[in-house]
């Protein structure tokens, strides 16, 4: 069993190594990469089955490979574990991952660097698996940064494009800000618990910190006038880390730009898996978060605000992928908000369903892009439903799931979150989230209308359906998006039970009224979106403004720019830092610090010139100086002899 779980991350890693060092041909690369990830999926399934065979309380396998860091009291093993939470994450990663790998074979066909692409993809899966399988924060961080790296590589895959390289660097650096907080959180954890392990190895050894959260109950740090709870400090730092990775306010700005990468990448990394890392982290560190009421409030508010903010931004985008990107941010906001409200199972549930249907949407969008010869601007699309029927159908399924229409997967998970918000009294959060869900339906309706209905607005290309290697994954995912909700439908709540050993949560009650209202609202808004944009199709011009712009004006503009946050950062933080760096480098360092050093040199030079000036060449001056010396020597000696 221990060996088996090691296989899960290792299989894709082997794929990575093969693709880097051995494989040179496109065909082999795709097959090997997809095959190994699929194999990992199978292994994961086996592992899950074995896990299910164990008694619920013992469903955790921990395996240590070697001591990673051991210096002083600071010991971190290179250890992974497998428990129910990890299991569902791993299933999502390997499952959706395998499909996306297969899809990529078609999508990336003909790209000169496709081998490298699959290598990156494999590496990503490896790192993502490490992220979810790590048994300590440091190894989690390894995966965390590792997926960040792969994200960087894949966003920048078409590095020739300026936007791609800029987006890649931006993604990495913005993530780094969150990571810095993550590092601090790790240090704090280590300082207060003496270990970074989540759980003990189950053999009577040291317990992990998640099992010992009570140790820090009531502990406070900080200045006397403003002490904060240690649990708050740690969880808040983790929260900042999560906002980076999961693209939450205020660090969400990198994700829309990240769409510069190949679309399957957007599907895998920037929708289904990597960006959910933050949510996973919160779920994993649930005892810490729960221990801090303050942080939980922050988490909920950040999630809800992000959800609304990104939802509004998604409404006003023209780029097919940017809509989905903001939608992803928005949905992640849902999950985060759920975590903040204590609905961890709901968060994970939504994570899973969202992983499936958002991957579907992205892949379908990719199929659209593929079929329209790299067109991404929805103003140049329209009427594609006939040219690409499979894509259209799967896309609609994905859209319905995202919008939260019964019985698609998104409905169940979203509803669970909303129900939790109501039932636990988080009314403001509920309002925000509900509003967002309405917006979601609206912009998905808008998108479907813009892309698939009406007439093709840009006749310069001939749309065609994608090859089977791409459509088959779409169909598979569409099935998943349709029935995926089943894993935690209110009556069965399999997922809740499954996660119970980790998240200790009982199934919530199904709120029929809410479900009805939400579905009705979503259906209505979705239709509204579809209707507005099909009926106004004629007003949409390539490069033109949105019909809604007429009514909302600058507000629409603000939505299109995601309320100018990106630009705000650019103009304050980035420019400020650049100016400061420039000042330090061009003025302060050469003239200040080095100037001081050179000043010392000049000082001695000046003294030297003084000595030189005294050396007049006149022997009488020399005698004069001599006499001065005589007087000094005599004077001092006589002074002493007084």
């Amino acid at each position: 069993m221990e060996l088996l779980i090691w296989l899960i991350p290792l299989l894709p890693f082997i794929g990575f190594l093969l693709n880097v060092f051995v494989i040179r041909r496109e065909r082999e690369a795709g097959l090997v990469a997809s095959g190994l990830v699929a194999a990992a999926f199978v292994v994961t399934l086996i592992a899950v089955a074995m896990l299910a065979g164990m008694p619920p309380e013992e469903r955790r396998i921990v395996s240590t490979a070697w001591e990673w860091i051991n210096t002083g009291s600071f010991r971190v093993p290179f250890a992974i574990m497998f428990d129910p939470l990890t299991a569902v994450m791993a299933l999502l990663i390997t499952g959706v991952g395998a499909l996306i790998h297969v899809y990529s074979i078609g999508y990336m066909h003909g790209d000169p660097r496709v081998v490298r692409y699959f290598a990156y993809l494999n590496l990503f899966v490896t790192m993502m698996l490490f992220l979810v399988m790590a048994n300590n924060l440091l190894l989690l961080f390894l995966g965390w940064e590792g997926v960040g790296l792969c994200s960087f590589l894949l966003i920048g895959f078409w590095f020739e494009r300026k936007s791609a390289s800029a987006a890649a660097v931006k993604a990495f650096v913005v993530n780094r800000i969150g990571d810095a907080a993550f590092i601090l959180a790790m240090l704090a954890v280590f300082a207060y618990f003496g270990t970074l392990n989540f759980y003990g190895d189950g053999e009577g050894g040291q317990l992990g910190f998640l099992e010992r959260v009570s140790d820090i109950a009531g502990l406070r740090i900080g200045p006397d006038w403003q002490p904060i709870f240690v649990s708050t400090a740690i969880s808040f730092l983790l929260l900042i880390g999560a906002t980076g990775k999961s693209a939450q306010f205020p660090l969400f700005v990198w994700l829309p730009d990240a769409m510069a990468g190949p679309t399957p990448v957007s599907a895998l990394i920037h929708a289904a898996t990597m960006v959910t890392g933050g949510v996973y982290l919160m779920a994993r560190a649930e005892p810490l978060f729960v221990a801090s009421f303050t942080t939980q409030g922050w988490v909920a508010w950040i999630g809800a605000l992000t959800a609304l903010l990104a939802g509004t931004a998604a409404m006003a985008q023209w780029d097919i992928k940017r809509v989905l990107a903001y939608s992803t941010v928005s949905q992640l906001g849902f999950m985060v908000a759920a975590c903040g409200m204590g609905a961890y199972v709901a968060a994970i549930f939504h994570l899973l369903t969202h992983g499936i249907f958002k991957a579907l949407l992205f892949l379908a969008a990719g199929s659209v892009i593929h079929g329209t010869h790299d067109t991404q601007d929805m103003r140049r699309m329209g009427g594609l439903k006939d040219a690409m029927p499979t894509t259209f159908r799967t896309y609609v399924i994905g859209a319905l799931a995202l919008a939260g229409i019964v019985p698609f997967a998104g409905f169940w998970s979203k509803d669970e979150i909303l129900a939790h918000a109501i039932s636990h009294g988080h009314t403001p959060i509920f309002v925000l989230l509900f509003l967002t869900s309405l917006l979601t339906a609206f912009y998905m309706g808008r998108q479907v209308a813009l892309v698939f209905f009406g007439t093709q607005r840009d006749p310069s290309y001939h749309p065609h359906e994608s090859p089977q290697v791409m459509t088959v994954p779409l169909v598979v995912l569409a099935v998943g998006a349709t029935i995926g909700g089943a894993i935690n439908v209110p009556a069965l709540h399999w997922l809740t039970d499954w996660l119970e050993p980790v998240l200790h949560e009982k199934a919530g009650e199904f709120n029929l009224w809410l479900a009805l209202i939400a579905t009705a609202g979503a259906g209505g808004m979705g239709y509204l979106g579809w209707w507005v944009y099909t009926s106004n199709a004629a007003k949409i011009k390539i490069g033109g403004k949105d019909p809604a712009y007429r009514y909302s004006g600058d507000i629409w503009k603000g939505m299109e720019e995601a309320w100018y946050f990106d630009r705000l950062y650019q103009r304050t933080v980035v420019v400020g830092f650049e100016r400061l760096a420039d000042f330090l480098a061009r003025v302060f360092d050469p003239q200040g610090v080095d100037g001081l050093v050179m000043g010392v040199g000049r000082f001695f030079g000046g003294l030297a010139n003084g000595v030189r000036a005294l050396q007049t060449g006149y022997v009488r001056t020399y005698a004069l100086v001599f006499t001065v010396g005589v007087l000094i020597v005599l004077g001092v000696m006589l002074w002493f002899a007084r």
Partner: protein, 525 residues
């Protein structure tokens, strides 16, 4: 004598010098032969030095009790200057072990890098490299303060020539600045050595008449710890300061860093590699070996202030690096930032901090050397170091780009690669240190963010985007030699990243003993 029965350390120490001597007899025109002799020597030194970690006792029999001198291994001792009690004594412990290995490891790499970059007076270049190698090894190996100082100062001479003769346009200015700055920085250390010697002699002579004094590091330490020799607070602080200044200039700690960018920018690639790879480590090593060990109380006293400088250096170096358009300058300032981490770790004064600092020195040696080699590869092809001159090379030189990315990420502290382990251990140490605490760390972590910013800026400017300059369109990718170089460097970069315990294990005992002593100082006074 030692666990091997033959003077391994002397062999390692003097073999490069012997190679230099042999090169003297090679005709100046026979360029290829000089290079080969030099390479063979360096490789031989490295292979021989491999015996050190192999035969190193990670947990020596002698248990480190508080008050005992540091346990040295492979010890050699010969009388050298009996009149002042200075001896030719060599030894390694867990702290110097890896630095010695770093030095011998970088030796062949440096020589390999000269193949394409140095065409002027090749033989003498190699001679200087070999001599420099001996000098640097001497600093790490010497267990006698006078011997140490001798090697310490001597490193200046070959390096100055390397910069001054083979450097680029502004080389004279840089060479002069390098020499004078570092020389001036270390003169006070000479005085401190003398003071220590005399104070110690006077103290011991009071007990043992006829004692003529010593420069033996081990004896100083054991007498200090056994209380036979004590320093009053002011003296200790002054001596500490004198030593520290020398090391701080070398490291270089902000604000003593301004010689570094000049030296790096002007030095030939091999020179930069040695400078960044090993020479800067002399400072960090000196702080651990001498400042902390000899003056524990003063170290405690000064640690917070020095850590402030270190933290300033981390941020400042990173910010200034970010603003550079010259690749070498960028990497040079990144050294300021990275070495700031090292100093921060050292003055955390705990096991994590110090062992992290040692490992980080090794890491920095590997990563930054590789970065300079990377700049060198580009410079040989295009003869410019301006970022604006490049772009899109990922397409043109994919292998090179891959290695560069690896190196940049290692330098930026990506987990799984070497840089992260060092940095993280250091800040873990600093966080836990009662002298420093989270404020220091919170700022230092900013350096991690900025490191990603400037290194990716570098990477992006060179490798990403389209090939804008026609001159870049047909640049050849790495040749066999360069490939070997980068491959060799990548191995430890990855190995340290995923299995640092191997390296920590060696230094554990020494660092623990040192820290125990520091702690005893706190308890005692």
């Amino acid at each position: 004598m030692n666990q091997l029965g033959f003077p391994l350390l002397s062999l390692v120490l003097w073999l490069p010098a012997a190679g230099a001597l042999a090169l003297l007899f090679v005709p100046r025109a026979n360029v290829e032969l000089s290079r080969r002799i030099s390479l063979v020597t360096m490789v031989a030194v490295f292979l021989i030095s491999l015996l050190l970690p192999l035969r190193f006792e990670t947990n020596p029999m002698q248990i480190a009790v508080v008050g005992a001198p540091p346990v040295m291994q492979f010890v050699e001792e010969l009388p050298w200057l009996p009149i002042v009690g200075a001896t030719y004594s060599l030894g390694v412990d867990g702290i110097s072990l890896w630095l010695v290995m770093l030095t011998t490891f970088l030796g062949p790499i440096v020589v390999l890098s000269t193949w394409d970059s140095v065409h002027k007076d090749v033989r003498n270049f190699q001679i200087l490299l070999l001599i420099l190698q001996t000098a640097m090894l001497g600093v790490f190996l010497a267990q006698d303060l006078l011997l140490f100082y001798l090697f310490w100062e001597f490193t200046l001479i070959p390096m100055t020539f390397l910069i001054g003769i083979w450097g680029s346009q502004n080389r004279i200015y840089a060479a002069r600045k390098f020499f004078l700055y570092t020389f001036a920085g270390s003169v006070l250390m000479l005085l401190a050595l003398i003071a220590l010697h005399i104070l110690h002699r006077d103290a011991i002579a009071a007990v043992e008449p006829g004692f003529r004094g010593t420069f033996s590091f081990g004896q100083f330490v054991s007498d200090l710890r056994s209380g036979r020799f004590t320093l009053d607070t002011l003296t200790e602080r002054l001596l500490f300061g004198a030593f520290f200044l020398a090391f701080a200039v070398k490291v270089p700690l902000w604000p003593f860093h301004t010689w570094l960018p000049d030296a790096h920018v002007e030095a030939p690639t091999a020179g930069s590699v040695v400078l960044a790879g090993v020479l800067l480590k002399l400072g960090g090593y000196g702080m651990i070996r001498y400042n902390l060990t000899l003056f524990p109380a003063a170290s405690q006293w000064a640690a917070p202030a020095l850590a402030v400088l270190a933290v300033i250096g981390i941020i400042y170096g990173a910010a200034v690096a970010f603003a550079q358009s010259d690749m070498k300058k960028l990497v040079a300032y990144s050294s300021v930032s990275h070495m700031g981490f090292v100093v921060l770790g050292i003055f955390a004064l705990n096991t994590e901090g110090i062992s992290g600092a040692v490992l980080q020195m090794v890491n920095h040696g590997l990563s930054t050397s590789a970065l300079f080699l990377m700049v060198g590869v580009l410079y040989e092809r295009r003869h410019t170091r301006e970022l604006a001159e490049y772009g899109g090379l990922w397409k043109v030189m994919p292998v090179f780009a891959a290695f560069s990315l690896l190196v940049a990420l290692s330098s930026a502290g990506l987990p799984g690669l070497n840089g992260f382990v060092g940095e993280f251990t250091i800040i873990a140490g600093a966080f836990r240190s009662p002298l420093l605490g989270w404020v220091y760390v919170a700022i230092a972590v900013g350096g991690v963010v900025l490191a990603a910013a400037y290194l990716l800026k570098l990477f992006r400017a060179v490798f990403m985007g389209d090939v804008s300059q026609p001159a870049n369109a047909n640049l050849p990718d790495l040749n066999q030699r360069e490939l070997t170089t980068f491959t060799l460097l990548s191995i430890p970069i990855v190995v340290i990243g995923i299995y640092p315990a191997l390296f920590f294990a060696g230094m554990q005992h020494s660092v623990a003993a040192l820290v125990a002593e520091l702690m005893a100082q706190v308890a005692g006074g």
